[in-house]
Symmetry: C3
């Protein structure tokens, strides 16, 4: 199993490299990521390549048994390139150029930048083609971060028109799809089509969605430029890119398609948001989202190893917290852990983004924890390698749908992913594994598929879902399902669009629910509330499971189920309170026969199973800051300690157990 660290030898004197490599080896490190921001060091001036320093670093590492993931350095074009071609710089919606001085200062659609990208990638590929220590390429870095997916420059304008031509064929079709007759926005030819730069007020929602799709596609296309070169020159080396968990501006299913495997950057405690600590179910969801983009195991390419920070910092990690996250990563399908980063940098914007070592390079508490895990993984790595999470439940996450809600949140502050989190949390708290998948993925292997917020479907997705239910699957979707065409227009026949028959209902009317209001609902004997939205449902063939108890809609249906083929389709016309979600999903999972892990755990303990053939590995993770217990029903072995366990077991705060049936 690969156990690694992100390393920047170029930031330190050469005489330190040997010390670093030695410390890494001691800690069990066997892989590093290198060079992904080193363009100016590799090509200090146009055409003047210098790989000598990198060769030397690689050779020192190699002597300590450490392999290399090599980054293409395109996330940070050097100043000489920007000075020659300032037109590479991205532009915001007001026409302001975003200049040099940080990173990601390029437009994905810039043809000049594509040429320079090809040159540096080719040069690196040719230089390292025969180097056996370089085992994998890492393309660029965190595509889209710092809000860089979308650019408003003239190149983008030009390419967008080409993209639209490809999609719509004729300008009339575009006008129809976007509904440009509204507010006299009709385009008489391709030339006249706009990109959504600053206008007097809001742009057309179909244009907005297409510009998001186009921008996402532009990233995929830019990545492909690099991949094509690498595949040709170094066909034997793997290729990856570091994804960003729940980041949602690039269609990760498409971005992943061209890669051998995906990796991602996992920072459970960071300073970006108001609440510094992420809750464990959110980290778990991120892992599952990441496993879902290719439906296979992944790497963590940046595993947090210290406080994050730029101008402001997140908090310090407590003892054993980092180790807990590593095992959570593995539990959810990580096949390799690479820490970010080896040592805190003493300069630059990320000066306060801490690594395993502090600025002074002295190994301390966090290094020791990394070393402990390194030794553990040396023991258990081979055992768990090749094992996988097997889920009976899938939640559909669609970028097109997420974007549709981003453009039109319906209710102020509503976010597509927040609704998914609510459903996900139910499964998480019961230790039921979940796959997060694309709406176009094969559904046949699942007992239950949920699609919260499925506002937009196309024919392929519709067929996929209908076939799944017809063949006996259980499907659950929510308010606004099917409301929109794929071009982001409303369906004008039924609010449920092509899902109407599947769901067996009509929507009489609907409304947002203001924040200071709350509508009572009942589900059997259970009382709860409806939030954010209410649909007033007329069952056609469906059976009513829950109803409103308030105001003029009292007695109207809010939750229904419809028999369709050999399966069932549930519809939830609101965001119910958690207790209603619980009784609903208890019923649904019960009827589907979803199996629950054999381990009962206190709240705050996560249990997830990886399977390889007959071998099962239960990762038991105590996220509580207090001791908590699980009950093991049959004898198992903790493969970390060799201890045989049965009955009630107490885990200390942040403690980890890896139990096996072997």
């Amino acid at each position: 199993m690969f156990y690694g660290v992100d390393y920047y030898p170029e930031h330190w004197p050469e005489d330190r490299w040997e010390i670093d490599a030695h410390l890494m080896e001691e800690a069990g490190i066997n892989v590093v990521r290198l060079a992904e921001f080193a363009w100016a060091k590799l090509e200090p001036d146009e055409g003047l390549y210098d790989f000598s320093w990198l060769d030397k670093a690689i050779s020192i590492l190699s002597r300590h048994g450490i392999k290399v993931v090599l980054g293409t350095p395109t996330a940070a074009p050097p100043k000489w390139l920007i000075d020659k071609h300032p037109e590479i710089l991205p532009v915001d919606e007001d026409g302001h150029v975003k200049g040099f001085g940080s990173r990601r200062h390029y437009c994905y659609n810039n043809p000049v930048y594509r040429q320079y990208t090809k040159k540096i990638v080719t040069a690196m590929a040719e230089h390292y083609e025969s180097n056996p220590d370089v085992i994998c390429w890492h393309i660029d870095n965190e595509f889209g971060c710092h809000d860089t997916t979308v650019c408003y420059c003239d190149n983008c304008m030009k390419e967008f028109k080409e993209w639209l031509k490809e999609r719509y064929g004729t300008i009339d079709k575009l006008n129809e799809s976007w509904g440009t007759v509204f507010w006299s926005q009709t385009y008489k030819d391709w030339d006249s089509v706009i990109i959504p730069r600053r206008a007097v007020t809001s742009h057309n929602p179909s244009l907005l969605l297409d510009y998001k799709r186009f921008s996402s596609d532009s990233v995929v296309k830019y990545q492909k430029v690099q991949i094509d070169i690498l595949r040709e020159i170094t066909p034997d080396k793997k290729i990856t890119h570091n994804f960003m968990g729940l980041f949602n501006q690039i269609d990760y299913y498409k971005l992943a398609k061209d890669l051998d495997f995906i990796s991602w950057d996992n920072y459970p405690i960071n300073h970006f948001s108001d609440s510094i600590d992420q809750i464990s179910s959110s980290i778990a969801l991120s892992h599952d989202v990441m496993r879902g983009v290719k439906k296979k195991n992944f790497w963590v390419m940046e595993q947090q190893s210290g406080p994050t920070g730029w101008e402001e910092m997140g908090r310090q990690l407590k003892p054993s917290e980092m180790r807990l996250w590593v095992y959570q990563s593995i539990a959810h399908g990580a096949d390799a852990i690479v820490y970010f980063r080896w040592r805190a940098c003493t300069f630059g914007t990320e000066e306060y983004w801490h690594g395993i070592l502090d600025h002074d390079g002295i190994p301390r508490r966090r290094y020791n924890e990394v070393k402990q895990v390194g030794h553990e993984l040396r023991k258990i790595g081979a055992m768990i390698e090749g094992s996988e999470v097997k889920a009976e439940v899938a939640i559909i996450r669609s970028f097109d749908n997420e974007w549709a809600f981003e453009i039109q949140p319906h209710k102020r502050g509503f976010r597509y992913m927040e609704q998914i989190k609510k459903y996900y949390k139910y499964f998480y708290s019961r230790n039921i594994p979940v796959d997060i998948i694309s709406p176009e993925d094969d559904l046949s292997g699942y007992k239950l598929v949920l699609a919260p917020g499925l506002i937009m479907v196309n024919e392929k997705i519709t067929d996929n879902i209908k076939n799944y239910v017809r063949d006996g699957g259980t499907f659950l979707t929510t308010w606004r399902a099917g409301a929109k065409r794929w071009d982001n227009r409303m369906n004008d026949q039924s609010l449920l669009g092509p899902l109407k028959e599947l769901l067996g209902i009509d929507i009489e009317e609907y409304s947002v629910i203001p924040d200071d209001e709350s509508i009572d609902v009942v589900f059997g004997d259970n009382k709860g509330t409806a939030n954010t939205w209410y649909d007033v449902i007329s069952p056609v063939t469906a059976k009513v499971l829950g109803e409103y108890k308030a105001d003029y809609i009292s007695g109207k249906a809010v939750i229904t189920v419809n028999k369709y083929g050999r399966g069932n389709a549930y519809y939830v016309g609101t965001i119910p309170s958690d207790n209603i979600i619980k009784v609903l999903l208890d019923k649904v999972t019960g009827e589907c026969g979803i199996s629950v892990a054999g381990l009962k755990s206190n709240e705050g303990i996560e249990v997830l199973r990886r399977i390889k053939g007959a071998d099962e590995f239960y990762f038991v993770l105590n996220f509580n800051r207090k001791p908590s217990t699980i009950i093991v029903n049959k004898q198992m072995v903790d493969i970390l300690t060799g201890e045989y366990l049965n009955g009630e077991i107490t885990l200390e705060p942040f403690e980890v157990r890896v139990l096996s049936n072997r």
Copy 2:
């Protein structure tokens, strides 16, 4: 009585038009507004007119007895025009062009746009001149919305200088009026005068006020371009424009002057503000403001008929809520109700701005309610037509004053209209009708005139008020009255300027009151508080009615009344708590002999009377979400039901009664 709907046939297939017309007729609809955003459909390319589709729609509607208000489509210039003349686009204060992609993307002062405006308006006028179904023109749409009153382009700069020359005559006069000697801002000639684009910090307040006046005048002038054409070609057709209630960036008194009648857009429950529901007194005030701009009855051109929404939505309307608003509109002087809109559009920015019909075009609850009202109005329309609200109380609302406070709020967050609302609410809660008028309007018909926040007066206004009081009128004004000259300089003789003699007081000193402080005041035996501001008043000839009870100003006057001629002038040197406003106005209205409606009502029931000759119509509106009662002192007939009523009557939530003495 006209009962209508805003209709966009161009959004729907032609084979639907007949169905729509039929459904309209069924619901009692007899007028539609058409075409106000259809420029690209009417003139798909320069000079290429196509009225055929519109003619057809009009003829179908006509066959169903439906007349047409025809919009000039200038609120949304088509793309071909912007591509030919991008200089039409408006510019913000930083010089950013606000581009194509929504609506209102033009500068009112652009000479090219004026030419294109003339061409399309002329073409429409000539085409429909002899069409008897077209009964009225509707100019553009919601002038000034989306913050489009003010533009900072070079045309505006040029026109502003002309406007200033007209106003000031010489540059020396301008320098004196603006006080440009402050901070060395003296202009040596007209060329050097600026518009208030982004500066290092705040601009001169006199420049700011004049730029607001100029921007408002520019809209009036632009509207006049259209009106002149229409009056010449189609002298028999009426002309209107849809106003926006309390919108305050255009001087509505001036904008209304050139129109035959005004109409306005009434959305009581919308998603724009944090609180989705407007309170009923605010809607009432909006109606009265609208009736006041021409001092005559008006149309509601957009009466809400479903949830509002762009990217976010307001809530659904409850049963009978829409009907309640319609009768409130009529009560306050609406002579026609036109709903916005017939059917929710399936595309475009306003996709979620719902109409009578939902996206699927199926008539449901809201259609039925529209139909109910349609049938009711067929019964009572003729009776109430021609009746009017008669008010003994007027509140002065001055745009110049509102702008002065917008530029200098004095206390952070203070808004001119909020103070007016406080006084208005007293009358509203007592069912006392109020006219909202211009400071230049004839005051002689009123028993009481209030002018809260009258910070700025000119000679005409001063004379108007003084003559009114001298002849026996009762006048009430508040802190800062008369403080400023018409050019937005402070008066340098007295803080009260030309109102000093009228009010019979001096202001010794004044202060804002910080939010966390509160100053006790007494008015007779009543204790209350002073908020926002305190004036320390020295009575000269006035009598003290209220005084402070706090700190170093304890015992100083806060409310006074001065005998002036045969009338009385009240001065309120703070914003008193509601209980003090109540006792003060109880006293004032008592002494003036203001009559209160013969109907006593619970709080939350609004009663307003329209009068035609000897006929009186009492509109009784229950805004409470619970049953509430009124007491009818003499027998009246409910003209909706034919029922004869006397004594205590209970109204269900949202119920309406229209009682008559006939």
Copy 3:
């Protein structure tokens, strides 16, 4: 003693000047500041000078015994100059030009503006060279206000490169200092170096700090252009500039160096911040900061004399409040009080910034208070003139350090000055005088020197502090001390950098403390909390004084003291709660033998002593809104009243006593 007012004769008719001068004389006024915004009046068009009006004003004032501080009018370049040279205007980071219409609309580095500056300053200097009434020059006005220290124009870009060349010598040294190897930001030559205009995300922190230093130096250099001319032509006249208290964008130590004395603008109650009233300890700190920039007495050039206000206003001054502030100013080292301003202006942006007289020019309460103070100062001025505050305690305030924390606040919302305020408040509440000094100032005279937030030191500062402690001084610093090199890189050897030996500790690890967390600490028997940050300290030679009582760091050191040479160095690894600061500083001041004023006072009474030879003057200031007492231990005389006092004395709200041992 000078007692004055800021006066703008150009704002008023000439026939008022005599009245004003008379009223001033009556009030004891003997100095005015004139002309600092009068460029357009002095030079209405290029080269056309008109000093006649100013000469006349000066001569009228002179006849009333009033001297003149004459302002150079460069804070407000006239329109004719901007029209000729729009390139003078400053530019923001997005490239937006900040245009004409307010003030300070020039770039300090603009060579054209330097030429025009020289011309107007030369003309004024030559004209007033022999005028004995003009005793002092006042350069420009409030350098840096309205966020004008930093500009992003091409001139600044060019000058910045020159500044960097001077500082770093070679581009390689710059690259090393800034750490441009991070994110491939290496500059290959001076031409390619950037200024921190808008980028994709955050700039390099070393670039940011240097741009702040450069911008500050640019102001100092621009001021020097004026000073050089004035020194040459009018060598006998003093030169000053009005500083802004805690304003922190210009290094005031450098700006002060070229001036004869500094003056500052003191507005204790203003409308800028959310809380209108500043607390008295903040005003006191501002005075001490101002006294510290030259380590000598100062003028108050703008002493608040009425409500402040632009578009919004601050509150009115209560009776005696202004007088209280005047005596506080004197207590802290003011040698002259100049009120802003004589009379509220009736036009312009500062229309609501009130003066001694209101808009109507009638003397009222505030005038009478000014007059009272004028008469008092006539009595006691000569006595106290030449006396000085003598402090045994100094707090180091470093602009470089403040900027480092501004660029990287470490914890969201942390501000360098807030920590200084916490320590300052301890001394304030005990009436212990404090000097606020530069880290390069001579420390030898102090018993105790504190340096909260000393994140960055250079060799000179390190030596200064170490020598001070070695020779027996007591020094206290806090978390992050020494962490950074002077070029804003982290030290890579020790977190404490060159201060490690002095402090005798190591830092094992550290963290921000999230807002919703609190960590218990103990100091002896005292329990308190740690906030914002925790350092985990390993004592090397230091003694532990306080430790954490929480979580995994329980028992670890938080406060230490290290014997170094003959002195002691304290280290505080957090921001302790106030009670811990109290017990810590009680101990420290006790051990240092800091003397406390002989007067014991209630909380809210400030006592500060000025000394001249054997004479002591105790300024006793009651900031409470209620009567409060002090205890006088030996007989003293109140030099305001002539009263002899001893024992307990009660002061009314805002009452002032000036006690002397004479």
